[in-house]
């Protein structure tokens, strides 16, 4: 063993220690959003950094023909309009089947359908604020406080709204500018309760028995996501998994109410969803706001959370800066992957390789190229499973936390090139199991109850620049 003096030893130790201390900092700097930094772009990145492999884009990754698009009547979706497509007799039979299945599985103690699972499902829908188009009746306005309404640049307004929404429980936030020839068509023509949504040259919004009036000066849509628990939804299609969806909606009722209170307290109008999924097409607005891309699921897939989000929106006259759509290679990956479609118990999702302009039925909104689904088949599975299924969400390769470098590496490569997409799909099958079109949960529901999950089952640091 060669002679080393104490001085030499300590010097080497110091150098080693400096290396250990500096390496994580260097790694963090390299992985931060500095690579996505463009001086004058307005993007969610400015208020909340995005993963470095997300590129901003002038247009979304799907083709849109705005001339072929009309403002959609929400009652034509399979939510309220299912009886028109399958008939009352079929719907009654499905309802009977659902009731019998749930009762039988509860008595059998089927994992995910046990008493504690359905109790949690019931709990997740309880305790939320009122949901309304106009917002709370009584607000202390700036005038009441003796000050003018808040003013600031659109960029400052974006940052302010994002900070407020994040604090209130939203995950990511974006903005869409309403243009009559284009994005205004993403606002429903009729809400689920049958009230018409009307744009008018008026000063104040209004609502009566037949209509909800949106002033033309309310030109900006704030769009945000609320996380669902990825670990919980991987127990789809059980009630245990469904409750995370319900919980996201329940949490959002409070988020919307508080955002409306915040904006009205600043001196601006805040026109929200009058009921679940009202006002406009959430995934479409999410795509236009750059929160994610449209996918084979026909729902938003986000870079940060995959499909494990619910999307919500609100119209305001607070001048905001629109945020750009993104291109993260997600829709392109969907063309190759197809795992959700292969896993769908009722083959409701499209197996086409290329998206199409041709809708699958009147429940789809024409005017964009997509992997249109047969929503009636999807709904049939809902009744069979007794829940809102969600198996497609559970098997999606993007439904992965980005903590592991192997996931970040895959997402980065998928963002840049499609060359390895089929290989990534095969690797996903190897590690996480092949696609199986059945009603079996991807993960063990009983095991969920022993996991040490964070609050709401979500990681609020996921997707942040300084995540661990």
């Amino acid at each position: 063993m060669p002679d080393i003096t104490r001085r030499q030893f300590l010097r080497e130790l110091g150098l080693a220690g400096a290396g250990v201390a500096l390496t994580p900092m260097a790694a963090a700097a390299l992985s931060a959003d500095s690579m996505n930094d463009e001086a004058d772009d307005i993007s969610p990145a400015k208020a909340a950094p995005r993963p470095s492999w997300v590129k901003l884009s002038a247009k979304p990754t799907i083709d849109i023909d705005w001339t072929a698009m009309q403002r959609f009547d929400e009652r034509n979706t399979c939510r309220g309009g299912l009886v028109n497509y399958v008939g009352k007799d079929t719907l009654d039979a499905w309802t009977k089947m659902q009731t019998e299945n749930l009762a039988q599985w509860l008595k059998q103690g089927k994992p995910g359908y046990t008493l504690r699972d359905v109790a949690l499902q019931a709990a997740s829908g309880a305790g939320s604020g009122a949901q309304s188009f106009l917002g709370p009746e009584k607000i202390t306005s700036p005038q009441d406080r003796g000050v003018p309404a808040w003013t600031g640049s659109p960029k400052d307004a974006n940052a302010m709204v994002t900070a407020a929404l994040r604090h209130l429980g939203a995950a990511t936030v974006g903005v869409v500018a309403l243009e009559p020839a284009t994005t205004e068509k993403l606002i429903y023509g009729f809400d689920p309760d049958g009230k018409e949504l009307v744009f008018a040259d008026v000063d104040q919004p209004a609502e009566d028995d037949k209509r909800r009036v949106i002033p033309r000066k309310a030109r900006w849509v704030i769009v945000w996501t609320v996380q669902m628990s990825e670990e919980t939804l991987k127990r789809a299609p059980t009630p245990l998994a469904q409750q995370t969806t319900t919980l996201a909606y329940t949490r959002n009722r409070n988020i919307q109410l508080r955002l409306q209170t915040f904006l009205r307290s600043l001196g601006y109008m805040a026109l929200g969803e009058a009921s679940t999924n009202a006002l406009g097409i959430s995934p479409a607005l999410g795509v236009m706001a750059g929160l994610g891309e449209l996918s084979r699921l026909n729902r938003l897939i986000t870079p940060e959370y995959g499909p494990m989000v619910r999307v919500f929106k609100l119209i305001t006259d607070l001048p905001l800066a629109p945020t750009s759509p993104i291109n993260a290679g997600i829709m392109r990956f969907c063309q190759e992957c197809k795992k959700c479609a292969e896993s769908c118990p009722s083959q409701a999702l499209s197996m086409r390789t290329e998206p199409t302009w041709d809708v699958a039925g009147p429940w789809n909104n024409p005017g964009h190229k997509a992997f249109f689904e047969d929503s009636t088949k999807c709904r049939e599975t809902w009744f069979r499973a007794g829940t809102n299924c969600g198996r497609c969400f559970a098997v999606c390769p993007y439904a992965s936390s980005s903590r592991a470098l192997v996931h970040r590496f895959a997402f980065s490569v998928e963002s840049s090139t499609a060359r390895f997409n089929s290989s990534f799909r095969k690797m996903h099958d190897l590690v996480f199991g092949k696609a199986q079109a059945n009603l079996d949960p991807v993960k063990d529901p009983e095991l969920w109850w022993s996991l040490d999950l964070p609050e709401y089952g979500i990681d609020t640091m996921q997707g942040r620049a300084n995540e661990g």
């Binding site: 063993m1 060669p2 080393i4 080497e12 130790l13 150098l15 080693a16 220690g17 290396g19 250990v20 390496t23 994580p24 670990e231 992965s400 936390s401 903590r403 592991a404 470098l405 192997v406 190897l430 590690v431 996480f432 993960k443 996991l451």
Partner: protein, 93 residues
């Protein structure tokens, strides 16, 4: 804490290798240093993925990562050790 311990361990190993080569009057080629760096990167990457996948409750994926990164690390390490052995054998002659 894991990364601190790993960093210290790597630092000592690196230092020991330098001291050993100096004691044998052996000049380690740049290629060997590069191969050892690759090995270290593979090991660190494997550890990161293993820990992160376990934190994400993906235990099966975490177990599969071990042979993947193990093989990836073993190849440059084996090559580096072979080149070192060959060099020390020549040095003895």
């Amino acid at each position: 804490m894991l990364w601190l311990i790993l960093g210290i361990a790597l630092g000592f190993t690196w230092h020991a290798l330098i001291v050993w080569s100096e004691s044998r009057n052996l000049r380690i080629p740049l290629l060997v240093w590069f191969l050892l760096m690759l090995t270290i990167l593979d090991i660190l990457s494997g550890v990161q993925n293993y820990v992160a996948l376990n934190l994400d409750y993906e235990e099966q994926a975490a177990r599969m990562i071990i042979p993947v990164y193990g093989v990836q690390a073993a190849i440059p390490l084996a090559l580096a050790l072979f080149l070192l052995w060959r060099k020390t054998r020549r040095a003895r002659w």
